[in-house]
Symmetry: C2
Amino acid sequence: MKHVTIRALARELNLSVSTISKALRDSYEISAETKQRVLALAATLNYTPNPYASSLRGKKSRTIGVVVPEVADSFFSLAINGIESVMKAMGYHVLICLTHEQFDNEKLILKEFQSGRVDGVLLSVSRETLSGEHIRDLAAQDVPVVFFDRVLDEVQAARIVTNDFESGYAATAHLVENGCREIVYLGISESLSISNRRMEGYRQALADHRLPFRTGNVVACTNDAAENYKTVKKMLQRKAPRPDGIVASVEKLTTTVYQACNDLRLRIPSDVKVVCFSNLEIATILHPSLTTITQPAFEMGRAAASLLLKAIKGNNVMSAEMVIPSVLIPRGSSTR
Amino acid sequence: MKHVTIRALARELNLSVSTISKALRDSYEISAETKQRVLALAATLNYTPNPYASSLRGKKSRTIGVVVPEVADSFFSLAINGIESVMKAMGYHVLICLTHEQFDNEKLILKEFQSGRVDGVLLSVSRETLSGEHIRDLAAQDVPVVFFDRVLDEVQAARIVTNDFESGYAATAHLVENGCREIVYLGISESLSISNRRMEGYRQALADHRLPFRTGNVVACTNDAAENYKTVKKMLQRKAPRPDGIVASVEKLTTTVYQACNDLRLRIPSDVKVVCFSNLEIATILHPSLTTITQPAFEMGRAAASLLLKAIKGNNVMSAEMVIPSVLIPRGSSTR
DNA sequence: TTTATTTACGAAACCGTTTTCGTCTTTTCC
DNA sequence: GGAAAAGACGAAAACGGTTTCGTAAATAAA
């Protein structure tokens, strides 16, 4: 079956193309009667406007790009739900692009977005991203960019973040208050904003509780689960001083930590206490249940989407910054 | 900064628009020297072709639609990874649309896709979907549709599925072999293909092991976690005969089941054994570790994407069907 | 009644690429 | 040396909407 165009409707009703278009867009120029006829025919012929024609003419796509490292991660998938809930209500489409934590992919995607494919971009940078040239290039083409969660300080753009510093602090303080003296911080990137801020919070908490900070207690993890497992295991086998607390800065390290403890016959929480940044619903049924810093993923998604819409409407939001706090939920893995 | 078009390049080089376009597309009509000049200028001016103009002219969008119930689910997020890996390699974009398990949303999305926005659609139907009119309407507009995982038998279209019947059978047989006599099946929808096939497998396994099938042992869950918790709890409190095995047909029921058992002080696996259809990496660190039917989510995504590409190229794949088997991974929750 | 205004519609340009036909040189071949 | 062929490019028509600017008729104001 051929796709029905505005021209077909025009022919059928003996009206001009412009009249049809105006009628469909409910223009005041068109009489109520004509509008009815047009709408009726459009419905029976199952007319659907070609979005590419509109976008080409109107210079807007009613589509936004969402650039995230990964979708198989509860934080990002929940954030996407939040984004989608806002965008759907406003009639926007969401184009999700994955960087797989690789800078090159991120660069390619943003470059592509310079074409006018999207009206705006929500971005959570990859763990490899150090420079912001590609982001500035995009913004220079008048495509508004809003960071969410993982920002690049170097770039001036709107941002929706959570209180990473305070959360890192809270996680660490919580472990100290529960008797830990040798706390290890598991990072995911040397450059990533969130990882660094959480670590700063960790350091500050140690200092405030008069505990020494040891470089060796900050363990750099990678994107490779098997490698992380080895790293964590080695760390846990260290003697004098033996680690008695772990702050894991990203969700995917949960399995690694529990697995390693299990394999080394270390008991949680008696031998080692654990707090993890995680949004996994399943945290409650781990054994022991996992103490988490739970991020407001859905809300962050909503907030970022709303802010981006403002930017698309022409408001300057470049210096907007919103911090939505995470919450520490104490469970079995950290209490004595 | 203004967006640089083909026309701008033409003016700059004193060439016609058509020459530029041909040069960029490496046409044989254009001399090597001219091509070089065009490419060079395009690079320095940072030219990016307007995708909407191309799509409008060429009647293809190099975009596919992926319609899934939910993204915060490890099966779908892994499947999306698989889809994306294929599509990225072929230069296609992926537009992800969520139905949130609601038929009305699914209908709206597919209706929108009739506009030519996408070159093809990968679809996993919602739990509410009973009729396939909306899918046939889309196919009638020459938009190829490939089902993955959740199919609608009523509609003739290509499909990538897993061996749901055999998996339901395997899960049940596994429980029987480990001593269960009163096995409950937790479904998610009365109409959903996967849920029904898995249940048929469950019934067959009971029959083959000379165990009675009781209607009361098929429990219909919903999309509401709190409600499911109540349902499961009630079921577990039943006396004479007390359930001693559970087959949970979808991942999200894992938390519900463990939680309910925990709250009722029922021990897994001694009081009740559990098998769950799940792709959660975290299954290994649950306590006890969870026996799963693990679906080949990534592979199914890849296969579906490849098949859709074939269909887009014009091959008739309407009757193609591929079954990629799931695997039963026995762990602590089901062994004696 | 004449003029001004409103109402309802149409013609045509435009958005940026692609592609089909020319057309003008230059080369090749007999 | 003349005809045929190849090479290199340009003009213009699409693709399907949107929007600006006319304009004819109907109504209101003077």
